[in-house]
């Protein structure tokens, strides 16, 4: 029985992880190293990487900043009525619950060229939909919960007392945040940021809808893989997929390291009085 379970586990592991990865690797190197390098250095690939990088950087910066502010207001803000907080708490998870494609459509419906908002922004020469801003918005929508979900429970756990203590000692709000709150939430923030990076890089549905997938303009690495595969460009699709795959593996390792670090920190704090 035990043996059967172990073999079943291995079978699944090989079937859904090892097998596809080796397929990607063989695909990527079908035409050897030069084919691989060439696939990665095609103009459209380089452009897609640039777009993906923009999105990841901007989205991560915004979502970390907004995520921290949002979490602070949600947990500490006393202008929010009591019953509002659980509602907001539920709404934060909305991007997890709805399909990213729907998120993308919402942005088109809100900011499309014929909408009030779309016309408003267009009057400043800014296109939202089928352009980078829309893609960033769509990715922000999809990844917004990550930082908030990591930070909110920690803020709730540490309580307001230490921050109040800091204020009674004369510290300004900003100093209190920097010296008292931040050290407690820094690892959760980093953890949330890494998840945001990973997800922004891999986001497909929402971005595809919003971007229109215009080559050399609004194409990300992920949507380029889709296009390559569609055009039977095996080497192209697999080379880029391999790079995404490697980045994901590195991300997972970083996450694992962070998690371990947090656990060490937590156990240090819970072993009170043992020294």
């Amino acid at each position: 029985m035990r043996k059967l379970l172990i073999s079943a586990t291995w079978f699944l592991f090989i079937l859904i992880i090892i097998f596809p990865i080796s397929f990607i690797v063989t695909g990527a190197f079908e035409e050897g190293w030069s084919g691989f390098i060439e696939a990665l250095t095609r103009p459209e690939a380089l452009h897609a990487m640039k777009i993906s990088l923009y999105i990841v950087v901007v989205v991560t910066i915004f979502n970390v900043g907004l995520g921290i502010l949002f979490s602070l207001e949600l947990v500490r803000g006393n202008w929010l009525a009591r019953w509002v907080k659980p509602v907001i708490n539920a709404i934060i998870d909305l991007p997890f619950a709805v399909s990213p494609v729907i998120g993308g459509f919402m942005i088109i419906l809100l900011y499309g060229p014929e909408t009030v908002l779309g016309i408003f922004f267009a009057s400043f020469g800014v296109d939202i939909v089928f352009a980078l801003p829309g893609m960033i918005l769509a990715t922000m929508f999809v990844t917004f919960p990550f930082v908030v979900r990591e930070v909110v429970p920690v803020l709730e756990e540490i309580g307001e007392d230490v921050e109040e203590a800091s204020r009674t000692l004369g510290a300004s709000k900003w100093r209190t945040f920097r010296q008292v709150t931040w050290p407690s939430i820094q690892w959760p923030v980093v953890y949330g940021a890494v998840l945001t990076i990973a997800r922004s890089l891999g986001e497909f549905g929402a971005v595809l809808v919003v971007s229109g997938n215009i080559i050399n303009q609004t194409q990300t690495v992920t949507t380029l893989v889709y296009q390559d595969a569609d055009y039977f460009n095996v080497v192209g699709a697999n080379s880029l997929a391999l790079i995404l795959c490697l980045i994901s593996i590195v991300t997972l390792l970083v996450l694992d390291g962070l998690k371990r670090r947090q656990e060490v920190l937590r156990s240090e704090h819970s072993s009170e009085g043992s020294v």
């Binding site: 230490v162 109040e164 009674t168 000692l169 510290a171 008292v180 407690s184 704090h269």
Partner: protein, 361 residues
């Protein structure tokens, strides 16, 4: 710092936590806020500190209305019930925090922190982190941290609640000494009446959002202003139904058939009850014969229950006093009792005790 609180109210949503509180505290006093859980002690303290905004009313610090002042501007030290130490800072950094905020120079900070930690008996822990300290040590760090920037008022919310009974007793006497040494006006909250009576110069009894009584512990204990205070402070015998007690004809005034007149309560403190041998000669008639029904050793005293006709009373007796057994008949002398009613409160003495000796040979 002089403190004056005028007509203070605090609502949390529909709930009225503080309902019109007035009191004033003189500079240098050590004041205990005592009262049952949920009475509003923490809320009052937080409004003094500026951590909570009053719904209406005034907080006046040193003669100036402080309502608009921020927490930072008030320069009030606050010690939280769970200490609220900065867990990623060492003991030194914790205590130095308020001084760094004030931009005191490094050498002065070092000197002051070391001085304080020495005084607190924490010199050994200077480089430790909070999670490496015992409860009592954390408490003292929190205390040192609050004192370091020389606040004008120190507020302590149940400072000893999380510390075990023995350490607590030492700590509160020590705290008393430190505070009187610094001469800083201090208000502390407690549930524990022994603690309040032992430590405070003055007590404020808080119940359901109101001040029941303010005064010295002695005054409040001996002259409670309300039924609530009498019931809350110290253990008392409360007489449930009307009785006639020898020497207390006055009780008739408060009776109405089988009931006390509405809103009348009668209390007898255990120390107002004296147990004497049945054959006592001195003022024997002022007492009544009662039977010992229960004797229990309390460590520093005997706890004794007695049956006097229909009435069950308890008192305590020094362990050096003559011992009584269950079933012994004794002469029970009630010196005083306190009565609270709508028409006024009074403490009545035993009328037979005042008559001259010759009256009863």
């Amino acid at each position: 710092m002089n403190i004056q609180v005028k007509d203070l109210y605090k609502n949390f949503g529909d709930f009225q936590a503080i309902k019109g509180v007035d009191f004033s505290i003189e500079e240098g006093k050590l004041v205990g806020l005592l009262g049952p859980s949920g009475g509003g002690k923490t809320s009052i303290l937080r409004m003094l500190a500026g951590l909570e905004e009053p719904s209406s009313g005034q907080v006046i610090l040193n003669g100036k209305v402080a309502n608009g002042l921020t927490v930072q501007e008030r320069e009030i030290g606050f010690v939280f019930q769970n200490y609220a130490l900065f867990k990623h800072m060492t003991v030194f950094e914790n205590v130095a925090y308020g001084l760094k905020v004030k931009k005191v120079d490094k050498a002065r900070i070092k000197q002051r922190v070391e001085e304080l930690l020495e005084l607190m008996g924490l010199a050994q822990t200077i480089n430790k982190y909070p999670h490496q300290l015992s409860g009592g040590q954390k408490q003292r760090v929190a205390f040192a941290r609050a004192l370091a920037p020389k606040p004008k008022l120190l507020l302590l919310d149940e400072p000893f609640a999380a510390i075990d009974a023995k350490v607590r007793k030492d700590l509160r006497l020590w705290l008393r000494n430190v505070i009187s040494e610094f001469g800083i006006t201090t208000i502390f909250v407690t549930h524990d009446q022994d603690e309040a009576i032992e430590v405070a110069d003055e007590l404020l009894i808080i119940n359901s959002g109101k001040v029941e009584q303010q005064g010295t512990p002695w005054d409040i204990y001996h002259r409670p202003a309300s039924r609530f205070v009498a019931e809350f402070l110290g253990n008392s015998n409360q007489l449930i139904s009307p009785v006639t007690l020898k020497g207390f004809e006055i009780l008739q005034k408060y009776q109405d058939g089988q009931e006390w007149k509405e809103n009348s309560s009668v209390f007898i403190r255990p120390e107002w009850i004296e147990i004497r041998p049945l054959d006592v000669s001195y003022q024997k008639n002022a007492g009544e014969t009662a039977e010992v029904t229960h004797v229990h050793f309390r460590g520093d005293a005997w706890y004794i229950e007695l049956q006097l006709a229909d009435l069950k009373l308890f008192t305590s007796l020094s362990i050096n006093a003559p011992r009584y057994q269950v079933g012994d008949q004794v002469n029970l002398l009630i010196h005083k009792l306190s009565i609270f009613s709508d028409v006024g409160n009074e403490i009545a003495g035993n009328s037979l005790l005042n008559v001259s000796l010759s009256y009863h040979i």
